[in-house]
Symmetry: C2
Subunit: 325 residues, 2 copies
């Protein structure tokens, strides 16, 4: 079996980092947190969790380091722990975009074994006290597997995530960022644009706004600087926006010509219902990087890492689920 | 006080019509329903409601007729009841767009006193058995007041709606349709476009889709033919779509130039929070059509119709709420 992690450091104790600390402690892991914000540090310490006095102290003898600070603080955190991290230590993160983190870690901590991570979980709240040890139950969790990623480190992290109840999705940084543009960046941009456009119809429209405006603009509640870090610098956002603008323009032109939006509504309805009604089959996979990446590409995730039966004792296989074709 | 309605006919026993029948019966009104679909008629009859054998029978001695059939069936229903409706009968409807209904009733039933209505309530379900007598509690309900609308009929309907727990919003057909474009038509178009664009990122994106994709595409679950009847033929949809496309194009160009979407995210966030955090003041209004229309235009609604104190016994005033400026 892949190594498990006896000592884990979590840097950043906001909603996600705090939830990871709580989930790990609940799972019996030895975990030490750190946050430069004394409020978050005190919240974690005050509820019984171990909080180090500095980032360097937190990571000093950790076998796994989880980077859970906001993206703009990443570079500074890497500089702060540079001298304290042993070569070969496994490092992961929880950021929405994976390319910027991959590049920063390659530049600042070239000796570690890095595996990018992105849990698809969250609430509209923030801070350690909003954390929830069950936040990651059944949540997809992108886990990057580049050509130079250490497969053993990847498998160890996959085991850990399954233990937290999450669904590890094997992918590359570039592929996850392209996918995320369409299902995270884009819905946020549409919510912002809807909130604004609804407003321009005046007070009457706002008093008549009902369920569709409410749910369509819901994520415009998210802090704007977070939305910007999820969109800015992601090249796939431009083509995702081009696509959505093309659909909307086709609808606009149909209406202007006295025609109907029915074809768009039918296609959109079918897309949504197909997505909701997907069914999944169990699948058994070898511990092979390209096989795993292809599994993620096809919409699959991992449910367990187990030892293979038969003559080759110690060889691993992975259990997973994938969409029925 | 305005007349109350002793006998009410509701034509169309789907989700909205069925909920109106149930709410009226619960409020002690004498109500008779009709639906050409034997399934809906049987559902209503089987749960103890009065269902007529034909539309003409339902409306024969009604003082108020509620048209609650889908828009494509409206014209046929008006022809079916034409000979059975007494001149001066009050007629209302529940459709999303008010201009097409106003025009059809003017053409087909010129002798009635028509007041267009649009309850901003609903669920993703349909049919009589999905109905709920409390569906309209606290729901805005647009109630059209054209220059030629009978003010007494309008006031009688406002009293009825307040009695059902709804919030009557005085407006005109044209103004409500323009407002609705931005807060109903547009959110549906955006949901359809998001559902489709998310799909084009492949299976990986769909397995990583989380809360923002789910809530953003939620109303793409609506039956496509309904979405088309809410958008098609509404001239305000074109400028609403132009606005949203302009916002999205600005975001797209910022990203393509290596800049940030932060200004859009900040403006959208502010718009959503301002909408959520609106506060309202009570207001006292005369029973004057232009005053009422202006009240609706400014985001207000009616909470009660009462008799004025003082020397002019029998004169009415309206209590309402309006946004704090």
């Amino acid at each position: 079996m892949p190594d498990s992690f006896d000592r884990i450091a979590v840097l950043g104790l906001g909603l996600i980092g705090g939830s990871i600390v709580q989930a790990l402690a609940r799972g019996g892991y030895q975990v030490s947190g750190y946050d430069p914000d004394p409020v978050e540090a005190a919240a974690a310490r005050g509820t019984g969790y171990t909080v180090a006095a500095s980032a360097a102290e937190a990571v000093a003898d950790a076998e796994l380091i989880v980077l859970a600070m906001p993206l703009p603080h990443l570079e500074g955190a890497l500089i702060a722990i540079d001298h304290a991290v042993a070569p070969g230590t496994v490092v992961t993160d929880v950021g929405t975009l994976k390319e910027p983190v991959l590049q920063a870690v390659r530049r600042r901590l070239p000796g570690v074994r890095f595996v990018g991570g992105h849990p698809l979980a969250g609430t509209e709240q923030s801070g350690f006290l909003a954390g929830d040890p069950l936040l990651f139950r059944d949540a997809p969790w992108a886990l990057t597997l580049e050509p130079d990623t250490d497969l053993q480190a990847w498998l160890s992290l996959a085991v850990l995530l399954c233990d937290l109840g999450a669904k590890p999705v094997p992918t590359t940084a570039a592929e996850q960022d392209a996918a995320i543009a369409r299902v995270i960046g884009l819905p946020h941009m549409l919510a912002e644009a809807l909130a604004l456009t609804g407003l321009r119809g005046g007070e009457l429209g706002l008093s008549l706004a009902a369920g569709s405006y409410t749910s369509g603009s819901r994520v415009a509640r998210t802090r704007p600087e977070l939305v910007a870090t999820w969109c800015d610098g992601n090249p796939a956002m431009v083509s995702a926006l081009d696509d959505v603008i093309a659909w909307l323009s086709a609808g606009r032109d149909a209406l202007a010509a006295g025609s109907t939006v029915l074809p768009l509504a039918e296609a959109g309805h079918r897309a949504r219902m197909d997505w909701e009604n997907r069914e999944f089959d169990p699948v058994d996979l070898p511990a092979d990087a390209e096989t795993l990446r292809q599994h993620g590409r096809e919409g699959g995730w991992i449910t367990a890492v187990i030892e293979k039966d038969g003559p080759k004792i110690g060889e691993l296989r992975l259990l997973g689920m994938r969409p029925v074709r």
